[in-house]
């Protein structure tokens, strides 16, 4: 066997080996391999340091070159705070009323979620997948499939866990789908990804909506709790526009995510999710109602 044939055989063997590796480790439900666990555990503090440095640099330059916009934003935030203050009072009243009504109807109180704060220490620099790495791992009680949220809404779920860090599959990743419904009308559907035009990158789409679905632009989309990964009632985003699917049978909606995925810095891991039993007891009835 001459040297060229040897080379070709080595390259072919390597390609087959690597393709098999992708096949066997590409399942999003798989755990970290030992090598990944070892490297990521050792390097997560370094990643944390660099991401902090990156965030601070961004904020420094953002503040320097965008002074006027920041000034305007400050004014808007002040006005918004005043409006929210007013809303908070109304909300308190409604909360009290809700509590009284729940007691009257003998509803079980909704399960409280235990939230574990985590910092984003890295994100996939490539373009094919939407994942971030956070600085909490199985040593902190993090498990696969736990939901990840921010104060704005649902961000994604844990798909790989190592000792001190975990990888989060964001909602904008095409491998992620969330069962969701329209908060106002309670229409069921599924949230996937919108990538139709460059300017729509990072947006989501809600599919499988019946033709008569009661949905309109501006509606808030929340998680339905079906599937067991995401708790019910987490805000996914708001509807931008609605059109028909390719076959003209079902409706679909473009959804603007509540979370700014470009600027994720801190997240919360939902450590406790309500069981299917709890879901059935929530107002809205049996989970089968959503189909």
């Amino acid at each position: 066997m001459n040297r060229t044939t040897q080379k070709v055989l080595v390259v072919l063997g390597l390609i087959i080996l690597l393709l098999s590796l992708v096949y066997f480790t590409g399942d999003i439900t798989s755990r970290y391999t030992f090598a990944e666990d070892l490297v990521l555990t050792g390097l997560s503090p370094v990643q944390g340091f660099f991401s902090q440095l990156g965030t601070r640099t961004y904020h420094f330059f953002y503040g320097m070159f965008d002074y006027h916009r920041l000034h305007e934003e400050k004014k808007e935030i002040r006005d918004e705070l005043a409006r929210r203050d007013n809303l908070q009072h109304q909300l308190l009243e409604l909360q009290k009323e809700n509590y009284r009504l729940r007691e009257m109807l003998d509803f079980k109180e909704r399960t409280e979620y235990e939230l574990l704060p985590a910092e984003v220490i890295a994100r996939d620099p490539g373009y094919w997948f939407e994942t971030i790495t956070i600085n909490k791992g199985y040593a902190d009680g993090v498990e696969q499939d736990m939901a990840v949220v921010t104060s704005e809404g649902l961000a994604g779920n844990i798909y790989f866990v190592s000792r001190n860090s975990s990888k989060v599959l964001l909602l904008t990743d095409s491998r992620r789908a969330v069962s969701a419904l329209v908060q106002r009308s309670r229409e069921p559907g599924t949230v996937g990804v919108v990538e139709g035009y460059p300017e729509m990158k990072g947006y989501l789409r809600m599919i499988n909506l019946p033709p008569e679905a009661n949905i309109q632009p501006g509606d808030t989309i929340i998680s339905s709790g079906l599937g067991g990964v995401f708790p019910k009632g987490l805000v996914v985003g708001s509807v931008l526009e609605i059109d028909k699917d390719h076959y003209g049978l079902l409706q679909r909606a473009i959804v603007k995510p509540a979370v700014d995925f470009n600027r994720l810095e801190e997240v919360f891991i939902v450590k406790e999710t309500p069981s299917a039993k709890d879901l059935d007891e929530l107002p809205g009835g049996d989970v089968s109602d959503y189909y």
Binding site: L14, L18, Y23, G26, V39, T57, A122, G126, S174, E265
Partner: protein, 179 residues
Amino acid sequence: MEQEFWANKYYLSSYLIVVFITVLILVFQGSFLAFTLTGNIRPDLLLILVICLAFLWGEERGVVVGFIAGIFQDIFYGPALGFYTLSMLLPAYLAGLGSRVIYTDQVIGPLLAVFLGTILHEAVSFFLVELFWGNEFPLSYYMETMFLPVAAYNLVLTILIYPLLFRAEQAKLFYPSFK
């Protein structure tokens, strides 16, 4: 020095240095750069390094560099082990072959290699995604919105990076014990 290139002690130190630089770039790219450049298009420093070194060192050592960089990228950010490794190998190999026909002391060669290598790297990624998970859009869509802008970005950065690597190679900085 031609035979047994992967076992040659002369080259071993250079591969260890590549491991070190790869880890540094991956940490920098996934943390600092990802938090400062928040747009859709970001340069791929690791790919620039791989293609430039492959151009300097030839196709055989280029493949080793591509393998090292790819496997570490898989460990850090990959959706599966082997994904980035596969997409790094082909550009590295071809860039190494390119150095046979273009002089390594002129920046035009690596510029061309990085531009075409970036497109090739993304095209291989496209086919792997298609094979294992499925793409939403045709290749032409990604070519227009992603491959070409990233290739242009990488090309500009190569003007700065390649001369540094070339000088490091001339000064034998990759082979400290043989200086």
